[in-house]
Amino acid sequence: MLRFILSRMGMAVPTVFLVAVVVFFLIRLVPGDPAALLLGDMASPESVAALRSDLGLDKNILAQFAIWLTNVFQGDLGTSITTKEPVAHLVIERFKVSAGIVLVAVALASLVAVPAGFIAALRQNSKLDLTLVSVAALLLSIPTFWLGLVILLIFGLKLGWLPVVGYVSVAEDPSRGLLYVLMPILTLFLHEIGVLVRMARASALEVLRLDYITHARAKGLPERTVLWRHVFPNAFAPTLTLIGLVLGNMLGGIAVVETVFTIPGLGRLLVDAIFGRDYPVIQGCLLFIAVIYVLVNLIVDLCYPLFDPRVKIT
């Protein structure tokens, strides 16, 4: 078990390193100078040059990379060029916000979508299946930012039920905090239902088609037993993998939702950093997202045998 974890992490190290290298050099190729951006349209070349040297941007690019990498290994992601805050702190604070919304949305969506997907699979080609599949396809097809705008228009503006902007940490003030995250959660929830129903249905269909289900049925086991003993456990494992993937992907996709609802999350931090050419923040965010993605996949793999007796970790 431990060996498995270690070897998997060993495999992840080159991946994350590669991400770090690519990110570092790519963003420096992009036109746009953080110093000039900070100083604005009337800055003199001297003051821009002075700021560049303050920020260490005048150094050789390899030297900059060496400095950054050394610091990263010491757990220091640097400081933001625009806000002067430590990047690690910034990333973690913003991540908490995004992760809270994503986790709740995916958890709720799973609770609805996984049973729905399984039922659709059991009644394959029935009216119910057709309806569920169509609804899922529809939800999947609506761009989240458009859905978000429509939800904002309806609940925030027309009905006036929910505050339209701002953010209050749920940890700090649970009742108010909840109000601010309801709309973003609803948006992602609806979208993820579309994704997860299809996945759950497909997993269940796959299992239903397997020989041992036919065997179990042929043996005369009651349908209920077949379902609970054989179908659901086996269909759940691949679904779990996919939920893991969805979680990882959503960290990227949440940027647009955070923009619509002005949530100070990781996605918006990254987009703002890209516009502001805040190199340390861009690097920190992307490295962090890569690590999280790898970790989520690892955890999913580790959980796999718990649900799927066929898989043994050695």
Binding site: M11, P14, T15, V16, L18, V19, V22, V23, L26, I27, L29, V30, N125, S126, K127, D129, L130, V133, S134, A137, L138, L140, S141, I142, P143, T144, F145, W146, L149, V150, L153, V195, R198, M199, A202, S203, L205, E206, R209, P238, L242, L245, G248, N249, M250, L251, G252, G253, A255, V256, T259, L270, V271, I274, F275, L286, I289, A290, Y293, V294
Partner: protein, 272 residues
């Protein structure tokens, strides 16, 4: 099977309408999609402008039609790039094995460790936020998915008898790969390409929404939607029509993709 193929029909209908609109849009539109007409500024849907006019008085229907062809071409080009690159990488990786495989898998995994849209954001910044940049960025972002599937198929085929037979009969590696292995990847690739077409359409509009997509004034559905946001209250149709177009085409692609999946490749089900 009957009911689901009804879904496929609907999907085909939507996609067909999109293709037709795009084809017409690239040669003819009711108005010049770029012509300003300040008098018609934010005019609502009417006989003159069936779907209204935008903040510069440009005809929304004409822009949607031109946008359909622009979005369609961007998506097609992206899918083409991802498929060609991904197939090349995946088949080399799977067929050669060894260190080549290990390195390519590491690179693929690194790319997959990024949500597609983030990777595209980064790449876009380098290639420049224009049509070509978008195509390259999204194309590269989706390459790993293709490579992974092709590699998997190649691996599973490599040890089969007919491949051995081809090798033994003295065919070159290249010939074996092209003649016997790649054709077997076609089914999963067709399914994946269909989804990728949808992803590209969606990603392009999301990037435009964040201000990083195909730059105006050339219309795409994404940047039309982004441009419509400030006018949401006075001219909701500016946001509604492009949003509807994206949703309907995506729905069509998803439904059609499901049908293709059922028909071509029952194993692929469950893959995103």
């Amino acid at each position: 099977m009957k009911t689901l193929s009804a879904n496929a029909m609907v999907g085909g209908l939507f996609v067909g309408a999109f293709v037709i609109a795009a084809c017409i849009g690239s040669v003819w539109t009711p108005y010049d999609p770029m012509a300003l007409d300040m008098k018609a500024r934010l005019a609502g849907p009417s006989i003159q402008h069936l779907l209204g006019a935008d903040e510069f008085g440009r005809d929304v229907l004409s822009r949607l039609m031109l946008g359909a062809s622009a979005s369609g071409i961007v998506s097609l080009a992206t899918v083409a790039i991802a498929t060609v690159l991904g197939t090349a990488l995946g088949s080399i990786s799977g067929y050669l094995g060894g260190w080549t495989d290990r390195v390519l898998v590491a690179v693929t995994n690194a790319l997959l460790a990024f949500p597609g849209i983030l990777l595209a954001l980064g790449l876009l910044a380098i290639f420049g936020a224009n049509k070509y940049g978008i195509v390259l960025a999204l194309g590269i972002a989706y390459t790993p998915s293709v490579a992974r599937i092709v590699r998997g198929t190649v691996l599973s085929l490599r040890e089969r008898e007919f491949i051995d037979a081809s090798r033994v009969s003295g065919d070159s590696e290249m010939y074996t790969l092209l003649r016997h292995i790649l054709p077997n990847c076609l089914a999963p690739l067709t399914v994946l390409s269909t989804s990728m077409f949808g992803w590209t359409l969606l990603s392009e509009s999301a990037l435009s929404f964040l201000g990083l997509g195909v730059p105006p004034p050339a219309p795409t559905w994404g940047n039309m939607l982004a441009a419509a946001r400030p006018y949401l209250a006075q001219a909701a149709w500016l946001a509604i029509f492009p949003g509807l177009c994206i949703s309907i085409v995506l729905l069509g692609i998803n439904l059609l993709g499901d049908a293709l999946r059922d028909r071509l490749d029952p194993k692929m089900r469950g893959m995103q």
